[in-house]
């Protein structure tokens, strides 16, 4: 069946990633407010004097217009919307991580207006220099919720009882926290009640809550990512390793 040709004008959007296409063009993966993730060909965007060159950058609010019928549409206009400072320094790597999650988890052309707002507000926090880990955890929870995998965090799956901050639970993927007794196979990540509640309330002030929340979210995300790995995590690890190697050289 032939898809109807569509034309969209001036849609709020963010570029997630762009890769070269043919000689002078780019394929841009963008997150839009009302049409979800869309793939657009930016014709001539790689030419030296193309006006699109500087505009099609990630982490900046844009308005995009496009037309076309297939899975990949043609970008007809891109404008810088502004209002957000540049994401800088180590926050850039957080930004790449958000974009990688969206590219790997969000199917194309599934509209999630709330996710778009969540993404924009996460970027604003990162650009403003807010603490990065809580901002990332919050977005991970929001992303899963928008994709239909909302995480039960406050009540036990089996009994429906509220999570006890002092107890430990197995976090069963797709289901939620289970007491140690109800999960004899121990297949799932072990997590403290305080960490679950920290994620639910987005308050990571309790000792070790941030570290444990990061680990839990990583395992939960890996479950939904199946075999796709998140390369941004490796980059962070490799940079830390490099810092340590250089330190050893200093000492010698």
């Amino acid at each position: 069946m032939k898809q109807a040709r569509e034309r969209r004008e001036d849609q709020p959007a963010f570029v997630l990633h762009a890769h070269p296409y043919r000689e002078t063009s780019l394929i841009v993966e963008a997150l839009t407010a009302d049409y979800g993730r869309v793939a657009l060909v930016a014709r001539g965007a790689k030419r030296p004097r193309s006006e699109l060159r500087g505009v099609l950058q990630a982490f900046q609010p844009l308005t995009l217009s496009w037309a076309g019928a297939g899975e990949i549409k043609t970008l007809t206009r891109a404008e810088w919307r502004g209002g957000l400072p540049l994401v800088a320094g180590s926050a850039l790597l957080c930004g790449f991580y958000l974009n990688e999650l969206l590219l790997k988890m969000l199917p194309r052309e599934d509209a999630h207006p709330q996710l778009f707002r969540d993404y924009q507000s996460t970027l604003s926090k990162l650009a403003a220099g807010a603490e990065q880990a809580p901002a990332l955890r919050q977005f991970e929870v929001q992303l899963l919720a928008q994709l239909g995998y909302a995480l039960p965090l406050t009540h036990e799956v089996d009994s429906g009882l509220p999570v006890d901050p002092g107890a430990r639970y197995y976090y069963a993927f797709d289901r939620g926290p289970r007491t140690l007794a109800s999960e004899p196979e121990r297949r799932y990540p072990l997590v403290r009640g305080t960490t679950l509640l920290a994620l639910a309330q987005q308050d990571f002030s309790a000792p070790d809550a941030a570290v444990e929340a990061k680990r839990l979210m990583r395992e939960v995300l890996d479950h939904y990512l199946e075999r796709r790995t998140i390369f941004s995590r490796r980059v962070v690890r490799d940079i830390q390793a490099l810092d340590e190697i250089a330190d050893e050289d200093d000492d010698s």
């Binding site: 997630l16 990633h17 890769h19 043919r22 000689e23 002078t24 006006e51 500087g54 505009v55 950058q57 990630a58 982490f59 900046q60 810088w80 502004g82 400072p85 540049l86 994401v87 800088a88 320094g89 180590s90 850039l92 790597l93 930004g95 790449f96 991580y97 974009n99 990688e100 590219l103 390369f231 941004s232 490796r234 980059v235 490799d238 940079i239 490099l242 810092d243 190697i245 250089a246 050289d249 200093d250």
Partner: protein
């Protein structure tokens, strides 16, 4: 399937060049064979020699046929300055300005997690070693002003700053001869945020 004829093989091979599609490749192949056999021979030899002989400079990582490139060997360059660029083309642009007398390090890329390029792929360990050779006093980061170039600059700065080196970044803003009316809004917005003090 029949093996490719020499003409077909040449046409296919030419398509590895940027901006060369099937039509252009065919035109080039026919031109070489029809009008310029001598040029074709020369091209073949030059390609063969370059593909075999060109390697990376041990000091700056740019292309050279020697162990160490001429620029790195030159006694006229200021060995206390090291400029970090993404590509040999960027090195040539900085050279063209005649505003820089130091040495270079060419990353041959930039950090780009979404393309699977991390610190290992751009050999940041080699840059660290080079910058910490004892002679270098200032590292000038001239990676691109894209998110990837900025991230690359940030992490190099972090790695070097802890080691008593001065680290600088190219300035960014309105271009020389730029009229505000025609400058793009993103550049102007950043120029405002990074405005500098002229008088107090």
């Amino acid at each position: 399937m029949e093996p490719l004829s020499s003409l077909e093989e040449l046409t296919q091979a030419l398509r590895c060049l940027p901006s060369v599609g099937p039509k252009a490749a065919q035109r080039m192949a026919l031109h070489l064979l029809q009008h310029d056999r001598e040029g074709a021979q020369r091209l073949a030899l030059a390609l063969e020699a370059a593909a075999r002989g060109v390697r990376h400079c041990q000091r700056c990582n740019t292309f050279t046929e020697d162990e160490i490139c001429t620029l790195c060997r030159s006694s006229k360059r200021d060995a206390t300055l090291l400029c970090v660029v993404e590509t040999p083309a960027d090195l040539m642009m900085v050279e063209h300005t005649q505003a820089y007398a130091g040495l270079y390090f060419v990353l041959m890329g930039r950090l780009s997690p979404l393309d699977g390029i991390g610190p290992k792929e751009i050999r940041l360990d080699r840059l660290l070693k080079r910058a910490l050779d004892g002679a270098v006093r200032e590292v000038v980061l001239a990676t691109n002003f894209t998110n990837e170039g900025e991230a690359t600059a940030h992490y190099i700065a972090e790695l070097l700053a802890a080691r008593k080196l001065k680290v600088t970044r190219l300035a960014r803003g309105v271009p020389v001869g730029g009229e505000l009316e025609y400058v793009d809004s993103g550049t102007l917005a950043q120029a405002l945020r990074e405005r500098r003090l002229l008088a107090n």
